[in-house]
Symmetry: C2
Subunit: 493 residues, 2 copies
């Protein structure tokens, strides 16, 4: 028996919740891109208030009744998708104490500012008490959510970022992947250093304009989005027709700014491609963070570090910056050079996932109480020695380099590596579907690839789970093979 | 008998209302400075939602009980000030139907975007239906608020901007002022044109940096504020420690950008100087729009167009832009040249208030139904011919030049002229209190003037009504004499 009234009530109510969430996103965007330092406390109060109002709407007891009524009625696939995610959100919201939600929002807002300050002055002790507060609050959150028998606190937090992901399942993928990546690194032939000095110190304004032109060519709509600058590049959706991304303003070489711009643009193209008709509903939302990351990595690594891309883009750089002597092969080698480094966002494809493994193990230990926040710098540095063979020379380039934990995002990092694996497997499928893909990229024509992604990944929203989507589009379950094969081809091993 | 519980409940509840209002201000700031065009509808929905939530909080029936209990108890002057303004707000809020509040918020958000488009393409018919909607809604608002016998709809709207202001009281000031300004204009000797071509086409980035240095020197704190760019310069407070102002990015001469920067900085200094201990309370809020405008005009006209200022600032420009041939006397003449023009924000001190009179009479007629929105361009142009002796060559430079009506701000314009009158009278008082003021300004030292304004105008917040404040600080009721005397000295008549 159908119950259209209950379903429509859910649609309206959840649209209101999403609308208020999008206002929180505006405050977050402004905080990262424009807000002055004296406003930290007031902004935390603003975010805390919206979190409190949102929590009240999310725990409105009518939701439970509507879900029961709508769930017992005939639904089409779109409606079933929405109901399933709303049910999940209802369970999470009713388990989350309101005071904890407010405390988390305010603590993370203050911690983000403290992190920016601590990173700028390389002063971990300034950040440590905030991290300790956040770990305590996140542990309380995990306990409120609960986890299946045999699991651990990390699982309860990770589920929000990628449904079903657990510390055990991540470990099962990470352990063999680590061996393969370490083997790969050992077998890559010694690389000569490409000379890219011509790309350093280019005028910042010109570099910004040039990269805006590139993302427009990739398909980013500036009528429906903004590209600004921030300390750490990111992408966020502020609602229908309003996708924002940033690039760093302090890059000293064009290649770094290029990589992060193509990365964030991949995220932004996904957000701009989500079906507008389902705006404010799970059916029209991004399909978990791993799939989101697959879109950024596909553009950054499989397009932006490919030979065909550099056949085209070398000429673009040469024309824009009046650098006639550039050599495509040398630039291609430069962007694919592999070397273990300290900074995750500057890491190459062959070492990036080792950075993720460090973070995964440490946040797991923090949440389980096996590691004290004050011990983080030593543990971080020891892991970097073990996995990457390098030792940070400061906490700013060590455990303070990422914004995530200061935002309260724990259980998040592994989605980057899963995103890398999805990206490689999806790009293989795109190549199979688009025989002229390399030729198109070599002429700066990205429209066919974007159209394929729109149809296969963006339009479906959350209709299928990430693993189902992967099987539908690529014909196979997610596997590390495509990425390892890609890296093998790249480095000729 | 004191009732501290009721008073404290009011403080907490009204702080929550102010907090949500400050989030609306963030959305407004972003809309004017960064938001992409496709986001218009979503942003209107976001603002509508916050307006609805705010209205619910403002009409919480407990407020009436708290006000009754707190009003019957012993209060100090600060508490009495708060209670009086909260009572006024309670009366307004309970008279405003919720559907009307939401409709106004959404209609003005959409109309602002339509106005920007119509102004850019000089297409009044694109804006006319939005204006018609807004006039209808504002008329409904005025009827809901009500006005005293013998008054009119305009009074009910104007009271929100400057308490007690009525169309009749404004007319009583404007009619003789108009004669005096017309006489003054007729008696100003013919002016030779100063050559300021050296100040045109300066690099935009350098001009921006230079003006940021100036506002910092005036006392603006960049730790507690931001200066960005927008179509129409404005200043807004987003909460404690967060005052934002804009300048136009398209100025072709430094002098125009200078005037609007000093103007907005005057507003910003007032906001930054309001007593933080009363943040979120009327006692700590600005004292009506006329006093707000007095602060911007004081800096723009009485400092920024004075001889001592140019004795100092000419050298600053010469050094920054490597223009050694600049002449202080010539620049002083250039910024004080009087000529009737089409654009309010570019008008000089002697003609500015005539622009205001046109707007006042037309919005009064629109609200009374004596003028149809479609007839606005003809009526506008006729008034400009009558008062200023000029005829707009397009609606973009005519009735589409200002953002105010598109925001739903009707009953607002006269506060500009009252602000001019307050500015002149306050600056006379500052000169009397600070004998070295001209010498200080001539050496770029603005700290003594700012300190005087902090004590006399900023610290008191809303403790006294605007007219009381004027009497306390200047010893006299507000009068047009100081401004007319100032203009007479300026033009030697």
């Amino acid at each position: 028996m159908s119950n259209p009234t209950a379903y429509q009530s859910l649609v309206d109510h959840q649209r209101d919740i999403a609308l208020l969430g999008s206002t929180q996103a505006v405050l977050g965007w402004d905080q990262e891109t424009q807000m002055p330092s004296d406003a930290v406390a007031h902004r935390a109060a603003q975010l805390g208030q919206l979190t409190r109002l949102t929590h009240q709407m999310q725990t409105d007891p009518r939701i439970g009744d509507w879900l029961d009524a709508a769930g017992n009625s005939d639904t089409d696939a779109d409606q079933a998708c929405n109901i399933s995610y709303w049910r999940k959100g209802w369970d999470r919201a009713t388990r989350m104490p309101e005071d904890l939600a407010v405390a988390l929002s305010e603590a993370s807002s203050v911690a983000m500012a403290a992190w920016q300050q601590a990173r700028a002055t390389d002063s971990f002790p300034e950040f440590a008490p905030h991290l300790e507060t956040l770990v305590g609050l996140k542990r309380r959150e995990a306990e409120a959510m609960g986890w299946p028998a045999g699991g651990e606190a990390w699982d309860a937090l990770a589920d929000e970022f990628d449904p079903g992901m657990t510390a055990a399942s991540v470990s099962a993928v990470f352990t063999p992947l680590r061996s393969a990546l370490v083997d790969l690194r050992a077998s890559v032939p010694e690389q000569t250093t490409a000379d890219i000095s011509a790309l350093k110190g280019l005028p910042v304004d010109q570099q910004t304009r040039f990269l805006k032109d590139l993302v427009a060519r990739m398909g980013f709509s500036f009528d429906g989005g903004v590209m600004a600058t921030s300390t750490h590049p990111f992408c966020t959706s502020l609602g229908a027709g309003d996708v924002r991304m940033t690039m760093r303003s302090d890059e000293d070489t064009l290649l770094t700014a290029l990589g992060s711009s193509m990365h964030e643009c991949g995220h932004a193209l996904y957000e701009q491609g989500l079906p507008r008709v389902f705006a404010g509903q799970p059916r029209g939302a991004y399909n978990g963070l791993s799939i989101h990351e697959s879109q950024s990595r596909l553009w950054e690594n499989h397009v932006g570090r490919s030979k065909p891309f550099w056949e085209w883009f070398t000429g673009q750089i040469a024309d824009e910056f009046a650098l006639p002597g550039l050599d495509a092969e040398q630039l291609y080698r430069a962007v694919n050079r592999t070397e273990a480094g300290l900074i995750r966002v500057e890491a190459d494809q062959a070492t990036y996932d080792l950075h993720i493994m460090v973070r995964f193990e440490l946040e797991r230990a923090l949440l389980n109480g096996d590691l004290k926040p004050s011990e983080l710098p030593d543990a971080w540095n020891a892991h970097y020695r073990d996995y990457l063979g390098v030792t940070p020379d400061s906490n700013a380039t060590g455990c303070l380099q990422d914004i995530h934990w200061s935002m309260g995002a724990m259980g998040y990092f592994p989605t980057y590596t899963l995103g890398n694996l999805y990206a490689a497997q999806l790009f293989d499928a795109a190549r199979a579907a688009l025989p002229a893909l390399e030729t198109q990229i070599a002429s700066g024509d990205f429209a066919p690839l974007l159209a394929w992604l729109r149809t296969e990944i963006h339009d479906p929203g959350r209709l299928h789970s990430p693993s189902e989507l992967c099987e539908r589009v690529t014909g196979k379950a997610l596997s590390a093979e495509p990425m390892l094969a890609h890296l093998g081809r790249l480095h000729g091993v």
